[in-house]
């Protein structure tokens, strides 16, 4: 190859090509008299030119192939341990930590700002320019462009492989199982940034460097090189936007939306010329579709919560997986608040046309009144309704209250200790603190009123039977207590602080009543099975979520 042989050979060759061109021009400008010799000469030079151009085309391909370079981005694993927020029907409770992990967004990676890289060794750019000049000057520009486009297209195709990008049919994408799809989406987000912002931006510059002097040729070549690959990326997005609506897809959809939204300006820059305008418009259209899909998915969440019903109560009255799921889900949503507000506002504009409303909105522009906040409130209301329905599945009133207390407390904690508090506001938190406390009180009443009624003095009149009755009452109380113990040790209050609160107020009430009953009636130790201290200790076993019995067990 000439260009491998050294600069001297190159300049000699180019010099010769130049001479041939000059000769053709001067021969052409001589009016064609029927001078056979001159004609003969022109044909020969023309032939020579063809040989030279053919050679230059080969050299061009050789250089393009030998000196191409790739930008290798840092390796990113998309099959990491990150799990998505998934509602597991099998009641296996979702670890909050893993959700926190999942909420981490696709890292923006190392791609940012202007990232022009050299896709061709910069040392050969002048060579390529020289070849372009020579070929264009002899009207061999179509040959140059075809070779250039094909070589650069191949390089881009290879880059797809290098990035590990698989190309899927739409059918494949629609059939993909969620975990695979989720990692493919992450990969798409990552690849879009690299390909649009780094690779294609650099490709465009490369085209400009080599072909900038030839009018629209440069942008024509660029679009030819990029089009097929852009359509592949586009079609993946189309497939995602037309997929079924499932709540767990929302975060990935929002990721895609945000990535594309962010890249649109780059896409507009790359394709602002006529040649690429249709792809540019397609990407804008895709953004709209992804937004629509994300919005629909979000709005469906509420329906999903409402229609999530079961005939079986959750054992032990603890925190329902649905509660965990919904709360973790909306907690993750808050990191997308800007995008979601935008999408939801857009929806409001689509469906309501009252001017008054928007004025009110402006006045109450605090975050608690943003569209997202309103939707979040109705989501938690839907959840509450669902929980109330579920609580009715329990036979015992007391357990209904424990269940609701647990779940509402969990909701309050999640909101209080995260950015969700900004959306719900103090008023909501205060109200719901009150709610779970009411359920606690209701529990105390439902469980302990009847048990403690044995220790009340009313009805104990006659002195003769009094002693006997007191002992009986004491026995009855013990039996009732044991029954409660047997049942409520199975129940569960997962939050230790909450459990402590419940136990303290129970203890206060029960121990106080017991102690004063025994003291009042001078019941001797012979007749009592448990001392007040015993009871106090036993109470600590309640709500541990594992059944215990006192009757058969050996005490002390």
């Amino acid at each position: 190859m000439i260009w491998d042989a050294g600069p001297r050979e190159v300049s000699d060759y180019l010099g010769a090509v130049d001479e041939v061109q000059t000769l053709i021009e001067s021969l052409g400008s001589l009016s064609m008299s029927e001078n056979g010799e001159q004609k003969e000469l022109l044909y020969q030079v023309d032939n020579l030119l063809q040989v030279a151009m053919s050679r230059l085309e080969e050299e061009l391909i050789h250089i393009l192939v030998q000196h191409k370079q790739y930008f290798e981005p840092e390796y990113v694993s998309f099959h990491s341990c990150q799990e998505d927020v998934v509602y597991d029907e099998s009641m296996v409770s979702l670890e909050d930590e893993s959700v926190e992990e999942a909420s981490r967004r696709v890292s923006s990676g190392s791609v940012s700002g202007e990232n022009i890289i050299d896709l061709i060794d910069p040392r050969v750019i002048p060579d390529l320019k020289a070849i372009a000049n020579a070929m264009f000057a002899s009207n061999y520009d179509p040959e140059f462009c075809e070779a250039f486009i094909c070589a650069r297209k191949d390089a881009l195709n290879e880059y797809f492989i290098l990035l590990g990008l698989d190309i899927f049919s739409i059918e494949d994408v629609l059939r993909m199982k969620w975990s695979t799809l989720s990692s493919e989406i992450k990969k798409w987000n990552w690849a879009m940034k690299i390909i649009i912002r780094v690779y294609l931006a650099s490709e465009k510059q490369l085209c400009n460097k080599i072909l900038g002097g030839f009018g629209t040729v440069s942008s024509f070549c660029f679009v030819e090189i990029a089009r097929a690959s852009l359509l592949c990326l586009l079609n993946f997005g189309e497939a995602i936007a037309m997929g079924s609506i499932q709540p767990e897809k929302l975060f990935r959809l929002l990721d895609m939306y945000e990535v594309l939204d962010d890249l649109l300006i780059d896409i507009d820059c790359l394709l602002f010329e006529e040649a690429g305008s249709y792809i540019r418009i397609e990407f804008h259209e895709l953004l709209r579709k992804l937004g629509h899909s994300a919005r629909q998915t979000f709005l469906k969440l509420q329906n999903a919560i409402v229609s999530d019903t079961s005939m079986k109560p959750l054992p032990h009255g603890g925190i329902h997986p649905l509660t965990r799921y919904v709360m973790n889900y909306i907690k993750t949503l808050t990191i997308y608040d800007d995008t979601l507000n935008l999408l939801l506002e857009h929806q409001n504009m689509e469906y309501t046309n009252s001017v008054v409303e928007s004025e009110i909105e402006q006045e109450l522009s605090s975050i608690t009144f943003c569209p997202l906040a309103c939707h979040l409130c109705s989501i938690t209301s839907a959840l509450e309704c669902n929980l109330v329905k579920r609580s009715r599945l329990y036979k015992e009133d007391s357990l209904q209250h424990i269940f609701l207390m647990n779940n509402i407390h969990y909701m309050v904690q999640k909101i209080k200790n995260s950015d969700l508090s900004l959306f719900f506001g103090d008023e909501w938190i205060r109200k719901h603190n009150g709610k779970f406390q009411q359920h606690e009180t209701a529990y105390q009443r439902a469980t302990w009123c009847s048990v403690l009624s044995f220790l009340r003095d009313d009805g104990l009149v006659s002195n003769s039977v009094f002693k006997v009755t007191c002992k009986e009452r004491c026995r009855d109380f013990t039996a009732a207590f044991e029954e409660v113990y047997k049942i409520q040790t199975q129940w569960s209050i997962p939050d230790s602080q909450l459990k402590e609160d419940v136990l303290i107020s129970t203890s206060l009430k029960v121990i106080h009543a017991y102690r004063s009953f025994i003291g009042r009636h001078h019941i001797s130790d012979k007749h009592i099975k448990y001392t007040a201290d015993d009871l106090e200790k036993l109470l600590l076993d309640l709500f541990e979520g594992s059944r215990r019995s006192l009757r058969n067990s050996q005490r002390r």
Partner: protein, 389 residues
């Protein structure tokens, strides 16, 4: 174009009547009338495709030419609009989840998804056609040069050889789709391989193992004409629309380069006695025969412009092979005519290919939208979502 004309009036009529809201038992007579109209329109449109009548705006298009395919896609878009007007517009969605539609509609939607991939594969195939056009244009430029010399003849020969090689290696089971990847590794030496001289850059756009033939087969596998009580009414309309979808996609695959097409020419499973299908079947047979002929020889597709390039290309190669300076006048005249024809073909491609690509994209988006409309309708019947709180 006449197709669009009667589409407009038909849609208008339907929507006015639909606004009066059809009762559950349906206005049966109206429905039968709708169905008859639909069948008639389908029959007319395909008859027009089969033997195009020249009109003032458009001269008669040759079968399988770019403008003919564009007309075919117009027909598809019209039929789809009419179909949706009958099946969805103003209709109580609960009607489309009753048997047998509860089975037929999901099947239709499944076909629609497959059609989307075909659209994408075809869009990619058009990239190849554009490449052929560029090569032919180089040959035209060279052979139009006057005076006519050895250099230009060589230039034309090189381009024509690349053209013929590209077009014939296109069809060897679409293998070039994977071969291009290895180009870089083989370096510039690739110029000496089978695809002679030209860098071939045509990647797959729909996945590595995707096959157009398999796709078409899968689309028509469960396509069965409704019988008995089902043979009228909505089931038949779904069947008609499915048949249109399959045959339009099939025709595109047969004409335009597409990934993996071995065994494409197969029996078209539509009963011949159905009057609306006559022209469609005839069209299928006509194209199918052509395909069988070409498949043996191996060609890039039945696209009329491509066939022309191939024929002219081969003839011109023959000329360049035997060319000796100076050219004989008689032969030169013949060549001039052929070059002019090739130039005219290139011009038609230049004018037609980009709009065709856009139109395929339009069909793509239409299919996506129609599918979404059906899914919405189905969804609204599913769980009548309890509006909470």
């Amino acid at each position: 174009m006449p197709a669009t004309d009667y589409q407009g009036s038909f849609l208008g009529r339907i929507s006015i009547r639909r606004n009066q809201v059809m009762s559950m038992e349906g206005n049966h007579e109206q429905e039968i009338e709708d169905l008859e109209m639909f069948q008639k329109h389908v029959a007319d449109r395909f008859a027009d495709l089969l033997s195009p009548q020249p009109s003032e705006e458009a001269p008669a298009q040759t079968l399988c030419s770019i403008s003919w395919i564009r007309k075919l896609l117009d027909v598809f878009l019209c039929c789809d609009a009419e179909f949706k007007a009958i099946l969805i517009m103003g209709r109580d969605p609960s009607q489309i989840i009753k048997p047998p539609l509860d089975r037929l509609i999901p099947e239709l939607l499944d076909r629609a998804v497959k059609a989307l991939d075909i659209c994408n594969a075809i869009t990619n195939g058009i990239e190849a056609v554009k490449h052929y056009q560029k090569l032919a244009e180089i040959a035209v430029t060279a052979l139009e040069q006057r005076p006519f010399g050895d250099g230009q003849v060589k230039r034309a020969k090189k381009a024509l050889n690349s053209l013929i090689a590209a077009m014939s290696c296109e069809d060897k089971d679409g293998n070039n789709y994977t071969r291009t990847w290895s180009f870089g590794r083989r370096g510039a030496a690739a110029t000496s391989t089978k695809c002679t001289g030209q860098l071939r850059s045509l990647s797959w756009s729909v996945g590595r193992n995707w096959s157009a033939t398999k796709q078409i087969h899968a689309m028509s596998a469960n396509l069965v004409a409704p019988r008995g009580a089902e043979s009228s009414g909505l089931a038949l309309q779904v069947y008609i629309m499915s048949t249109i979808l399959v045959s339009v996609m099939w025709a595109m695959v047969a004409t335009i380069p597409c990934q993996e097409r071995t065994g494409l020419a197969t029996h078209f499973p539509v009963p011949k006695q159905l009057s609306w299908a006559h022209s469609m079947i005839a069209l299928h047979e006509k194209i199918g025969e052509e395909w069988k002929k070409k498949e043996k020889k191996g060609s890039a597709g039945l696209l009329e412009e491509m066939q022309k390039l191939e024929k002219l290309g081969q003839s011109l190669i023959e000329f360049t092979d035997n060319f000796q300076f100076p050219a004989e006048d008689e032969r030169a005249e013949e060549v001039t005519a052929q070059v002019a024809e090739m130039a005219e073909t290139c011009r038609r491609m230049e004018e037609g290919l980009v709009p065709l690509q856009m139109q395929i994209r339009e069909v793509f988006h239409r299919i996506v939208r129609s599918r979404a409309e059906f899914l919405d309708a189905l969804d609204s019947t599913g769980k009548v979502s309890a509006t909470a709180i």
